[in-house]
């Protein structure tokens, strides 16, 4: 796999995640797409780390942070989705529109 292939791959994965985040109706589907975006970013970072001459561990640490934060965010996000479900009895994100004018 060459350098540019991997970058293109992570970009494609990111765009797919973005597309999902923007167009999915269900809140969980939207959240899964966001996780996808996280992973795409991780791939991007490791690519740059793998193909560099110098031994550079900054990318790896950063990726670990991202995974940790993603896990925490999963917990928080799922809590919010649960609260939304309790309130609205549906997971349809379109229904969370109280802030609409």
């Amino acid at each position: 796999m060459t350098f540019s292939h991997l970058l293109i791959l992570s970009a494609i994965i990111f765009v797919i995640g973005l597309y999902g985040a923007l167009t999915r109706k269900s809140a969980i589907q939207m959240y899964m797409s966001i996780e996808l975006m996280f992973n795409a970013v991780n791939l991007n970072f490791i690519t740059f780390a793998y193909f560099s001459e110098k031994i550079n561990l900054q990318a790896h640490i950063f990726v670990l942070f991202i995974i940790t934060v993603a896990a925490v965010e999963a917990a928080a996000g799922l809590a919010i989705i649960l609260a939304l479900y309790k309130h609205k009895k549906t997971t349809n994100a379109d229904k969370a529109n109280i802030l609409k004018h």
Partner: protein
């Protein structure tokens, strides 16, 4: 102090006015003060030297005015006459006005009048004379309109006041002229300087004074107020309009005699004679006793004026005094008749034989007609004597004395016929008795005193008898017409009408003066209401228009502006708020777009 009766009387009148309602018998104070004035006046008569009492009122560098009173022969005589007649009439009024609700007010005004009149004749200062002159006019107004609920009386008092006021303008003018010419108001100072002043100014001054005198004494241009003034109570008519106030004009001219020049004397003579003629002619056909007596007063005053017009102060003043007595007597006896019959109309007074009133009236009538030995004879003869040089006027005056006896005896024969006896009031007769006494004897009592006032011609016996014939023939003619029924003397209908309506003088004045004045005042009122108020109305309309426009502008434009801004914002908001979709995916999308822009911007 011989002049102390004046303040005493003023104070008395005020006291009666204030306390009259509570203390019913306070009018006795008025009697007492009037009696006091009479005593003082007798002292004044017997006094030989002049007394002057003056005090300085204004004392500046170049302006010195004094107020004062002076007593000389003329003043002393007037003092006595006014005091006596006032006292007599006060006593008469006791009985006549008995039962009237406003008894005290009447007495207060009567006393006030007496005070003003005495002040007028006793002052030696022209300014003070003007003040008392006006006060006398005021008293006359108050007393004529005493029964103010009677419309006729109210109108008459107003008429009297305004007519004499017109004459008073003359007095004010003369005052101004005198002060600028002589620089003083005192009589003595004025008379001392006369020789140095040129004739035209003196003529103007004396003409102004004459106008004032004509106003007060109801002479020719002003004579309409006196007959109407009879609407007041009879004692008032007797006091004011027979004996004293109307005599003020004569007194004024007599006092100011040194100022009178040829021209003004002629004016006085002519006006006096004409007035005598007109009044005597008007008196011939009147149906009301009081009006006959009123015209008689005017006529006799004209006589006095004529006497003064030939520089005969003695005659004028003598006739004033005798006239005061017998005219007051005539009025009071008329009052007694009216008191009994309650009507003033000659035709309605039923035949009756009032013993004492008849005698009183007869005495007064004989004095008026100028029959020897009554006082009127002497005074009339003195005047006729002095007029003798002026043939036309002399003949006129003789004719008028004939008319005088005729009209007064017409009244006498019409009223006093034999018939049933009616009860007369004794209290009314006694005061009349005093006046009757003086009517008979005044000629003898005052003859020597009066002759010291000035010089007179020697009396011509033939003249005396000639005058007597005229007067007696008047009586005879009246007797023929009204007693002997067989003799009927028909007078021309139209002439009778002219005489009855006082030569239509009232109507003439109405057309000449009142109507134009009324028109003038109506026009002024019209201008005031329509034009001036209309102008103000116009201004308000314009202001209202402006405020309307302003309001509309405010409402439509400004509010519209604000509304439009609001609408604009509302539109913007309604568009812009669509950003707030509440949909999180939209927010992420926007976030993404923003990020892309930023990346491309900063790389």
């Amino acid at each position: 102090m011989i002049f102390s009766s004046i303040p005493a009387l003023f104070i008395t009148s005020i006291i009666i006015l204030i306390f009259g309602r509570k203390y019913k018998n306070i009018y006795f104070l008025g009697h007492a003060t009037a009696f006091f004035a009479l005593i003082l006046s007798i002292f004044a008569l017997t006094n030989t030297q002049e007394i002057i009492y003056s005090f300085s009122w204004i004392n500046l560098e170049n302006l010195k005015i004094n107020f004062g009173f002076g007593l000389d022969r003329l003043s002393a005589l007037m003092y006595f006459v006014v005091a006596l007649v006032s006292l007599v009439i006060q006593i008469y009024s006791l009985r006549y006005m008995q039962g009237d609700k406003n008894f005290s007010r009447y007495f207060a005004f009567l006393t006030f009048f007496q005070a003003s009149m005495l002040g007028l004749v006793l002052t030696n200062n022209l300014l003070l004379l003007l003040i008392f002159w006006e006060l006398v006019g005021l008293s006359s107004y108050l007393l004529i309109g005493f029964w103010h609920h009677k419309e006729k009386a109210a109108i008459a008092s107003k008429k009297a006041f305004l007519t004499t006021k017109l004459g008073d303008l003359g007095l004010v003018f003369s005052l101004l002229l005198i002060f600028t010419t002589f620089h003083s108001f005192d009589f003595s100072e004025v008379f001392n300087q006369i020789s140095t002043i040129e004739i035209t100014i003196l003529t103007v001054i004396s003409l102004c004074i004459a106008i004032a005198a004509f106003g007060k004494s109801a002479q020719l241009p002003f004579l309409t107020w006196l007959p109407d003034a009879m609407a007041g109570p009879i004692p008032v008519s007797a006091l004011i309009h027979a004996a004293t106030m109307v005599a003020a004009g004569i007194y004024l001219i007599a006092r100011m005699m040194p100022l009178f020049t040829e021209i003004s004397l002629t004016v006085v003579l002519i006006v006096g004679t004409l007035t005598t003629l007109i009044a005597a002619l008007s008196a011939l056909s009147q149906k009301d006793i009081k009006k006959v007596l009123a015209f008689s007063t005017i006529s006799q005053l004209g006589y006095m004026m004529a006497g003064l017009g030939v520089l005969n102060i003695v005659g004028g003043i003598f006739h004033l005094i005798t006239h005061a007595f017998f005219k007051a007597l005539l009025f009071l006896s008329a009052g007694s008749i009216i008191h009994i019959f309650h009507t003033q109309n000659l035709d309605k007074i039923e035949a009756s034989k009032l013993k004492y009133t008849r005698i009183m009236f007869l005495i007064g009538a004989l004095a008026l007609a100028g029959i020897f030995p009554f006082s009127g004879f002497f005074s009339k003869e003195i005047i006729l004597d002095s007029i003798f040089n002026n043939k036309i006027i002399f003949i006129l005056l003789l004719f008028i004395s004939f008319l005088t006896s005729f009209y007064i005896f017409r009244v006498y024969f019409k009223i006093f016929k034999t018939g049933e006896e009616k009860k007369e009031s004794r209290e009314l007769i006694y005061p009349m008795g005093v006046l009757a006494f003086f009517s008979i004897t005044a000629g003898f009592i005052f003859k020597n005193y009066i002759f010291q006032l000035g010089e007179i011609h020697k009396t011509n016996l033939g003249l005396l008898i000639f005058g007597l014939i005229f007067s007696l023939s008047g009586i005879f003619l009246a007797w023929l017409k009204y007693k002997k029924v067989k003799f009927s003397l028909k007078f021309n209908e139209n002439l009778m009408k002219i005489s009855l309506n006082n030569f239509y003088l009232d109507e003439i004045y109405n057309i000449l003066i009142l109507k134009p004045l009324g028109f003038l005042s109506k026009t002024c009122a019209f201008i005031d209401q329509k034009i001036i108020d209309g102008f103000i109305w116009l201004i308000t309309k314009i202001t209202k228009l402006f405020s309307d426009l302003s309001g509309k502008f405010d409402l439509s434009f400004l509010d519209g502006l604000v509304n439009d801004i609001g609408w604009f914002i509302k539109i913007d908001a309604s568009i812009l708020r669509k950003i707030q979709t509440g949909n999180i995916q939209t927010y992420i999308f926007v976030f993404l777009i923003g990020m892309i822009v930023l990346i491309f911007r900063f790389t």
